[in-house]
């Protein structure tokens, strides 16, 4: 077992009665990765994370943290928020963190620091019950940061946060990742995932459909957005030897190029045919697009 492997999952399966929530999942997460878990609602993300955190009993399969059979002591070094923030409503934010610090074996001094990170210091002595949704999320993240975790598991951490909050959490994740920590992030905000994650996996109805680096997204064929105020532009674009496909979208054309062709060549070709492009932009394939392709009906799960 490679020491750099933080998490290794073998054949992890969970049935809820007849329903198969997670099916034969194999996955590896290495140290320092920011690992995005993607998938539509009900695809098994939370169930998988629940098994990794010892609250959901797997039907079969196994996993190791840091190459070792999981124990509750390891969980003390893994900060995790699954789905919703969970706290005692009648305790204040401060008291809730004091309790969690006791459970994690963290010192009480860390509480000030984590509350500061999520900017909740001014409200620390208010009852959790009185917090807004975003404040509850922040407290949950603060609690996950207690005890200086080696791994951070965040299940839709920006749920209910304002745009500023989302940006702050993104920066926070980047900062934590820069410290060499490993982060597993389940999210529906593909933009966010593309911005912060190094790797991602896609689940669909409990099956693993894709796993790989985020950087690979957008490799291969290029798509170029073209607009020109000229009647022949569609014909010319179609005749361009690099064109693999063309599609009209609102005011412009989307040209998919063969491998090896780039936007500069289109520009030259158009110019040679007496057309001046008013708008020309290379579209890197977005994670969203790739995500939708992966989930397309005909794709096969990988095992």
């Amino acid at each position: 077992m490679n020491v750099e492997t933080v998490l290794s999952i073998q054949g992890l399966t969970k049935h809820f009665g007849k329903l198969c929530a997670v099916n034969q999942l194999n996955l590896e997460v290495k140290r320092g990765q920011v690992f995005g878990m993607l998938g539509p609602n009900g695809s098994g993300k939370t169930t998988t994370l629940g098994m990794l955190m010892g609250v959901t009993n797997p039907t079969s399969g196994s996993f190791t943290w840091f190459g070792q059979t999981p124990t509750h002591l390891m969980r003390q070094k893994i900060g995790a928020v699954l789905e919703h923030p969970i706290f005692y409503p009648y305790l204040t934010g401060q008291q809730n963190l004091e309790l969690n610090a006791m459970i994690k074996g963290a010192t009480a001094q860390q509480i000030d620091r984590v509350l500061d990170v999520v900017e909740l210091l001014p409200r620390r002595h208010d009852k959790y019950r009185t917090y807004s949704l975003g404040m509850k999320q922040r407290l949950a993240i603060a609690s996950a940061l207690l005890n200086d975790p080696i791994v951070l598991i965040l299940d839709e951490p920006t749920n209910g946060l304002d745009p500023m909050g989302i940006a702050e959490i993104r920066e926070l994740i980047k900062k934590i990742a820069a410290d060499g920590k490993t982060i597993i992030l389940a999210s529906h905000l593909l933009d966010e995932v593309q911005k912060v994650c190094t790797h991602f996996a896609v689940l669909k109805r409990g099956n693993l459909m894709h796993v790989g680096p985020v950087d690979d997204v957008g490799k291969g064929e290029e798509t170029v957005e073209v607009a020109a105020y000229h009647d022949d532009v569609a014909d010319v674009l179609r005749k361009f030897p690099g064109t693999a496909g063309i599609k009209r979208e609102n005011q412009h054309y989307l040209v998919t190029l063969h491998d090896g062709f780039h936007s500069a060549e289109i520009n030259r070709y158009l110019f040679e045919h007496g057309i001046v492009a008013a708008h020309l932009q290379t579209k890197k394939k977005s994670l969203e697009k790739q995500f939708l392709e992966i989930l397309a009906e005909n794709s096969e799960p990988i095992h």
Binding site: G50, M53, G54, V55, T56, N57, T71, H72, L73, R75, Q76, K77, A80, L82, H84, I86, F87, Y88, P89, Y90, L91, T92, Q95, E98, L99, N100, M102, I103, K104, G105, S143
Partner: protein, 269 residues
């Protein structure tokens, strides 16, 4: 983690919980007043009921005399254990309704440790009840008892550990029920009705297998400290703790906690 640390964790959850202080406050207040005021109650009866004082000389009823007082107070206090059991139910069902049990496990408590922290609180509550009632017995005994003969005056002190076991076994039952049902209202209703349910079963089998009665869970818990007051009507009572009753109650307490453990172990939370 040490056992003391686990207890501290559970107490930390309770310390800032108002409901806990209200229920515990009421319970211990009732425990003190109900046990300490027996004599005043008799006097009040004598004052208000015509002829009561003439027919029975209340000072001749040795409610608070050594050694009668030990069993009298231990038995009476046993009646109040439902109050603290409700607190135990609230404490454990809260962990389900708030889903904090789930977060506790995620944060690094093992399921065994979680259960242990609850069981330890039960031990603490049982022990505190016992010490409190014992102190009341000593104080009221010194006030009302004409004399204290050693060692005869200590007859029946053995009912205090038995009373402690009685409370603990019942709290274990409440804890298990709370973990199985997971909702406070329903659990409390079941807890209140459990005596009735057991009574119905006992009534129905009494004719056929009366020797089984003493093995029933709630019966065995009640059996630890038998009703003492029949002796004032010149009836024979058991004024000592039997090993058999202790073993049966202990077995049930162990089973209740073991069932709770099994439930917690195999369920998704």
């Amino acid at each position: 983690m040490s056992t003391l640390y686990l207890l501290k964790i559970d107490l930390k959850k309770m310390r800032h919980y108002r409901t806990f202080w209200i229920i515990c406050g009421l319970y211990f207040f009732m425990l003190v007043t109900a046990t300490a005021s027996g004599m005043e109650f008799l006097k009040w009866l004598a004052r208000t009921i015509e002829g009561f004082g003439q027919n029975i000389n209340i000072n001749r009823i040795p409610l608070y005399h050594f050694p009668d007082i030990w069993q009298n107070l231990a038995w009476s206090s046993g009646l109040l254990k439902m109050g603290i059991a409700i607190m135990v139910v609230v404490s454990v069902t809260n962990e389900y309704t708030y889903r904090t049990l789930r977060q506790n496990i995620i944060d690094g408590l093992s399921r065994e440790q979680f259960l242990m922290s609850k069981v330890l609180t039960n031990v603490l509550l049982s022990f505190t009840s016992m010490v409190l009632v014992f102190l009341i017995a000593v104080v009221t005994g010194l006030i009302y008892s004409p004399q204290f003969d050693y060692p005869y005056g200590f007859t029946g002190v053995g009912f205090y550990p038995a009373y402690c076991l009685e409370v603990f076994a019942f709290l274990s039952f409440a804890l298990m029920l709370g973990m199985l049902v997971q909702r406070s209202g329903l659990t409390i209703i079941l807890l209140l009705n459990s005596y009735l349910i057991e009574l119905i079963i006992k009534e129905n089998i009494d004719e056929y297998v009366p020797q089984l009665i003493k093995f029933f869970p709630l019966e065995s818990i009640m059996n630890l400290v038998p009703l003492p007051f029949a002796r004032y009507a010149f009836q024979e009572i058991r004024d000592y703790v039997t090993w058999e009753s202790v073993l049966i109650a202990l077995a049930w307490a162990t089973l209740f906690n073991y069932f709770a453990y099994l439930k917690l172990k195999k369920s998704d939370i």
